[in-house]
């Protein structure tokens, strides 16, 4: 104990700020706090709705602040000695409150309910489950890893040519990807920050999720639902390849899978029939 507490505290804070300078070089505040880059064709819908809600909220919040701070300033007891006696139950008062109530409802809630319903129906719930030209992936979540299964050449899941990857999802750019997902043990949630979607993987149920990509590269996949002590380590990688690279990858992996997959080992055959509920 030859260093004092304060010295140690300063050391810790310095350590913390070293970490900061190490990982984030020059980045403006706005860059820091903006959401991850959108690599999907559906992400802009969420962006748009978020922005709309923000603008209208700011309007109403500004009114609230004007009322709160303005009245606090104008009617402070030193400026305004005698309060005006009213119960606020005259017709005009009721009209004003009702107007504000309905105003908020019509300007924000109605609009976002409608748009959100439309987006869900037309895009997020519009699963391309049985489309011919869709990349089908089955996902098994477990403590604390993601298993991704591509069907392979025969198009059937749970066969010897399935490509199974641990913590690594590979998809071609521009194609729709359809995911069916379940969990082995506890509830997990597949969260792809760059695509702005997530869905819970629940044991005993099959969750559905679809997305497409507009950009090649390496991105992150996370688990968003608390799933145990090592929840934070449940990270996977999303690799978006160009079509040629993807074809090359899937062919190689398939050959590899056929050569190495042990069809007798039931533990490896966790896949299920496509579309079962």
């Amino acid at each position: 104990m030859n260093i004092s507490f304060s010295e140690r505290l300063i050391g810790m804070i310095a350590q913390g700020s070293n970490l900061v300078t190490k990982v984030t070089e020059q980045m403006s505040f706005w860059e820091r706090i903006s959401p991850p880059e959108d690599i999907s064709t559906s992400g802009h819908l969420i962006h748009w709705l978020f922005a709309y809600t923000t603008y209208v909220n700011l309007f109403w919040f500004a009114i609230l602040c004007v009322g709160l701070f303005g009245f606090s300033f104008l009617y402070a007891s030193k400026r305004h000695k005698k309060a005006f006696y009213t119960h606020g139950n005259e017709k005009k008062h009721l009209m004003i409150t009702a107007f504000i109530g309905l105003g908020v409802f019509l300007s924000v809630d109605m609009v976002i309910t409608k748009i959100s319903s439309r987006d869900m129906k037309e895009v997020f719930w519009n699963f391309p489950e049985n489309d011919a030209d869709v990349i089908k992936v089955q996902v098994l979540a477990q403590q604390w890893a993601w298993n991704f299964r591509h069907a392979g050449k025969d198009g059937e899941f749970n066969t010897g040519d399935d490509v199974v990857e641990l913590n690594h999802l590979v998809v071609p750019v521009g194609k729709k990807v359809m995911i069916q997902m379940t969990s082995k043990d506890v509830i997990h949630s597949l969260y792809i920050p760059n695509i702005y979607i997530k869905a819970d993987a629940i044991p005993g149920r099959y969750a559905k999720l679809w997305f497409d990509t507009t950009k090649t590269g390496k991105f992150e996949i996370a688990c968003a639902e608390m799933c145990g002590n090592h929840h934070y380590l449940m990270k996977a990688q999303l690799t978006v390849l160009s079509q040629e690279n993807y074809d090359r990858w899937i062919n190689e992996s398939q050959a590899n899978a056929i050569a190495t997959n042990d069809t007798e080992n039931m533990d490896l055959r966790w896949g299920w029939k496509w579309g079962s509920r």
Binding site: L45, L68, F71, H80, I96
Partner: protein, 578 residues
Amino acid sequence: MAFVEQHIHDAPTSFWSKYLFSFDHKVIGKQFLWFGIFWLLMGGLMALLIRWTLAYPGVPFPIIGHLLFPHSDGVVPPDTYAMLFTMHGTIMIFFAITPILIGAFGNFCIPLLIGARDMIFPTLNMLSFWFSMASGVVLLASLALPLGAAAGGWTSYPTLSTNLGQPGAGQTMWLISLFLFGVSSTMGAVNYITTVITLRAPGMDYFKMPLTVWGLFLTSILNAIFVPVLGAGLLLLTFDRVFGTTFFLAGAAATSGKGDPVLFQHVFWIFGHPEVYILILPAWGITSDLLSFFSRKPAFGYKMTALSLTTITVLSTVVYGHHMYTTQMSPLLTQSFMTLTMLISIPSAIFFANWLGTLWKGSIRFTSPMLFSLGVVFVFGLGGLTGLYLASTSIDLYLHDTYFVVGHFHYTMAASVLLGGFAGIYFWMPKMFGRMMDERLAKIHFWCTMIPLNGIFTGMMVVGYAGMHRRLYNPFIYEFLQRLIPINIFITMSAIAMGLAQFIFLYNFFKTIFGKNIPAASSNPWEVGTLEWELPSPAPHYNFKEIPVVKSGPHEFGNPNLKGDRDFQYQTEELVKV
């Protein structure tokens, strides 16, 4: 009129019957207050440990880190981290906010504000506190278990909370503790509801009750109806853990029989969403009253406010599904829950407008209770408006389980309830303990709480919008979150500042109660007109020697028809002779 005159018994004299096993609602209210403040400090310390880990993962917690975690060199270990956020949520909701807002103010204020001598079932009232105490002891004991306390999140979703994810006894003790707590809450609720229905003083109809009583009354109704729902869910989960039933077990672990983990989520949120309003309604009530008291004018649109609160209470029971969008319920169900949730903004906007209307053309006195009430208006405005993002299903796809949610519910549940609670404590302190708290310290406390508080929770929403998800031990193993390190540090620093600011309150609080040479408060230091201020401070044994007759509403400031030298009046001219 349903009015019951209560008998006056002699005041208890021994220490046991006076301070421990007391039947007096005022003593029980104070017991709840101490209980709540103890747990508030525990929960607050846990919050700081969590925040420290999020900003400086792997760095020892300053000063007391080595004492708390000797085996990991002062660093919070991952399993302890999971336990900490589970306990933080549980403690803050069930053992801090509920005892302070509902236990303390409910017990203390309801009889005084409606002109009754005590609660209608004093024994039940005492039992309610001791059940709370028992549940607190069980929870505290679970922290000392070798495998640690429950660590499955305060929502305790199965299958993580079954033996599969939580093998230790901690989760079972958590369930038992919450069940006991539920029993206590239900007892309290039965008592409050019956008291309000039967013990209102002659002349006090429902629309003459102070809005505080309205808030507490509606809260109690929700408690009586929905806490048993949680109780049933907790029992079923306990059976799963102890007797091997399989209600919630599924997947590979369900070898002999299958259940459905989502069933628990339904049961939990049928209770859980009303619970949010259970916590906030008393704070709304207190705020509505205090805004009127210190603007020196009647509550604007009193009836509309009361009806809005009632509407919200009713709506709150049918919107719980918005917590479960990502479990992929049927589209029809999801859309219905979204639409119903959006409807809540109408009554909310109405009582917000009424709050502002109360300030309009008032003669505002910026006392400490008033500052805290204005604070509630500000933070609940932010909290309410950010709820709109989460209510819409498509934005929720992105924001679900991120820090945006954490920021939102802390604004609504933590920030506004905390500020409302402080407002209440500062306001009723003279009536509770017979002394005024130091106004200057109280105002310093307000600003030192308010500014960091917004730093914390706005910061949380910012990192949430940037994509940071919840309950991570070390968020920065994700590359896309590393840019958020400075903001997380800012949030943590704000949290520490807010934590330190609470020492101002504690100093003020203890000094007022136990300090020497503190002058006694007058009977009506705030110059307001509700019934309790007609009594000497502190309120005497059995409150009202003679039951008052109520002539007007609680906020008749400046009513030209009222005579007398004070500009408020809430009756006292005529008293019933018994």
